[in-house]
């Protein structure tokens, strides 16, 4: 709640002049990740907040200039570690745009499915943690419990729970099998129930509503000026979603809506995320029901995908192709050019500005990190709020420090 009460004239002149400095983070349970805020406070009212970031700066973009397109997928996983498959889809979408590779229909559907799973996984954590920070522990447990089912899907499809490293140039690591589809069915049954539970706990909860409604209001003009995207922009009335506005992969095939709100406060950001999970469930349902057959990766004659182990060991073409791609002095031809390509990540526009020089390794892999761009909203949103509102606003922005600092 904006602390306008503290501006009343009976507050003494002296206390208005004397502001305190409060250090928040970098190790603080409510920041969730490693980031620091230096707050100038007048009583409980925040006069100025200065974010200090870079604690998790790991040189991911520099590493991208020294790893091949398939190797770098392990690094992009670690950027937004709440939704790793979405980073992989974004990265290889950029590479495939640059190399002009047209994916097979089955692969497009698989990437849509893993991307939407990542979106659900991200929003579940964000919505759950929003409640946790405000004291609602049970809602967080309902949300987090459901995330385990998504980790089970990752494990089944790729062998890794946390950082699947699942996509490859021109395809994915392994095709979906029946066990993966079975696990996704399990999630599709459990998720609506979990969302219902979370909403029942929070949507009519007086404490939750009072601490979220009208807090951290972002106007539509500011959202555009601050380059906000994703649920944060959509909660402020910017109905901009790359899945609709610049359709990629198989998104034109699906019937789904883009939820938006106009209030722009913490609660509408929470509400938009809850609704987006329902829309993602719709997309996954349609994708599973209409999953095309046929090959998953582009044919090995196209020289891009790494052949699977069976093809490598049992056929001459596969062995040659594997050798050509793996040996350091060989590989695919890349253009000497640059391209910007973006997809709709859970947090907003997740793009790559990719420059190649003809070799196997990118010259420049600039990430457009939504967390970085959204965190500069924070001093603007938190001004004149109370200290207790910091966790509400921070939680609603969904800052992932690994992506923030890269």
């Amino acid at each position: 709640m904006p602390a306008n009460l503290l501006d009343e004239p009976e507050v003494g002149y002296e206390s208005k002049q004397a502001t305190w400095t409060l250090n928040f983070g970098p190790q603080h349970p409510a920041t969730h990740t490693t980031l620091r805020l230096v707050l100038e406070i007048d009583g409980e009212r925040i006069v100025r907040a200065v974010p200090d970031i870079g604690y998790l700066h790991s040189g991911f973009e520099k590493l991208g200039e020294h790893l091949t397109f398939n190797q770098y997928v392990t690094i992009v996983d670690r950027k937004n570690y709440i939704s790793p498959p979405m980073n992989e889809v974004a990265w290889h979408h950029a590479v495939e745009t640059l190399l002009d590779i047209e994916l097979t229909p089955r692969c497009k559907y698989i990437r849509v499915i893993i991307g939407e799973l990542a979106r659900i996984s991200d929003h579940l954590l964000c919505a759950g943690a929003a409640a946790l920070d405000l004291g609602g522990f049970t809602a967080f447990l309902f949300a987090f419990n459901t995330r385990e089912l998504i980790y089970d899907i990752y494990e089944e499809m790729s062998g890794y729970r946390f950082h699947p490293g699942y996509t490859r140039v021109g395809g994915v690591l392994y095709d979906f099998n029946d066990r993966v589809l079975g696990r996704i069915e399990k999630l599709l049954i459990a998720l609506p129930k979990a969302l219902g539970d979370v909403e029942k706990l929070l949507m009519r909860n007086r404490i939750f509503l009072d601490r979220m409604r009208g807090v951290g209001v972002l106007t539509k003009e500011d959202a555009i000026s601050f380059s906000a995207t994703g649920p944060i922009a959509r909660a402020s009335g910017v109905t901009y979603d790359l899945r609709k506005d610049e359709p990629y992969l198989a998104y034109p095939d699906f019937d789904f809506d883009v939820p938006y709100a106009t209030e722009g406060d913490c609660f509408s950001r929470f509400h938009v995320r809850m609704e987006e999970m329902r829309q993602s469930t719709r997309i996954i349902r349609q994708a599973i029901d209409n999953l095309p057959g046929g090959p998953c990766n582009v044919p090995i004659a196209e020289k891009f995908p790494l052949p699977d182990k069976g093809t490598t060991y049992n056929s001459m073409e596969g062995l040659i192709q594997h050798f050509e791609l793996i040996m350091p002095n060989r590989g695919v031809e890349t253009p000497r050019n640059e391209v910007y390509s973006a997809i709709e990540g859970p947090n907003g526009e997740l793009g790559y500005y990719l420059v190649t020089d003809g070799s196997q390794v990118a010259w420049r892999t600039r990430t457009r990190p939504p967390s970085f761009i959204h965190f500069q909203l924070f001093p603007h949103l938190i001004k004149d709020h109370l200290i207790a509102d910091i966790v509400a606003v921070l939680g609603s922005l969904n800052i992932i420090a690994a992506e923030l600092d890269r």
């Binding site: 040189g59 000026s225 380059s227 995207t229 809506d257 883009v258 709100a261």
Partner: protein, 184 residues
């Protein structure tokens, strides 16, 4: 809470050049010689000199409807095969939210003392992105309200994403002073 279900048909954009209107408007506004265009895949790029960059960006924002700065970043082309333009390049990806049009503005900037006009008067969002370019490449943005390092520590002397900064080595840890508890 409401939902919008406006679907945009991807086949429409394939027939005609989606950028024709913008390019026509810009040609009328600037004439020849201010910018050159190039295309690759679905990207339209406008190459512009640092001197006319701000003018082009503000015209794109105010007259052509590109109200949204989607992305800003830098690249170092030192040692790039066959490169004849300026060493550094800063890209601005702009988006028209009404017509779903996207274009990239590229500005080359050379040593010594690479500097560009800041885009912060046009977009608040440019603030941190320009600070990151400054931090990583040492490109100054004139007129920026708060041009400090953002990811690296204040006392860091090098620009780590430049191509002449090595990936491996001893690191920088020995260059930093150690604070004791009493000093902190």
């Amino acid at each position: 809470m409401t939902t919008s279900s406006t679907t945009s048909d991807p086949s429409v954009s394939a027939e005609a050049d989606p950028h024709a209107g913008t390019l026509g408007k810009l040609a009328g506004r600037f004439g020849d010689g201010v910018f050159t265009t190039s295309r690759f895949r679905d990207n339209l790029r406008l190459h512009v000199s640092p001197a006319r960059l701000f003018e082009l960006l503000s015209s794109l924002r105010d007259d052509c409807g590109f109200a949204f700065l989607a992305e800003l970043g830098g690249t170092d082309f030192l040692g790039y095969p066959g490169w004849s333009r300026a060493r550094f390049q800063v890209h601005y990806v702009l988006r028209d939210l009404e017509r779903n049009e996207r274009l990239t503005v590229l500005a080359g900037v050379d040593e010594p003392r690479p500097a560009l006009p800041s885009a912060t008067p046009l977009w608040e969002g440019a603030n941190w992105m320009e600070r990151e370019v400054y931090d990583m490449y040492g490109i100054e943005f004139r007129g920026h309200p708060d041009l400090r390092r953002i990811l690296m520590p204040e006392e860091f002397a090098a620009f780590p994403l430049r191509k002449d900064y090595p990936l491996r080595g001893r690191g920088e840890r020995h260059n930093f002073t150690r604070l004791t508890r009493g000093e902190s």
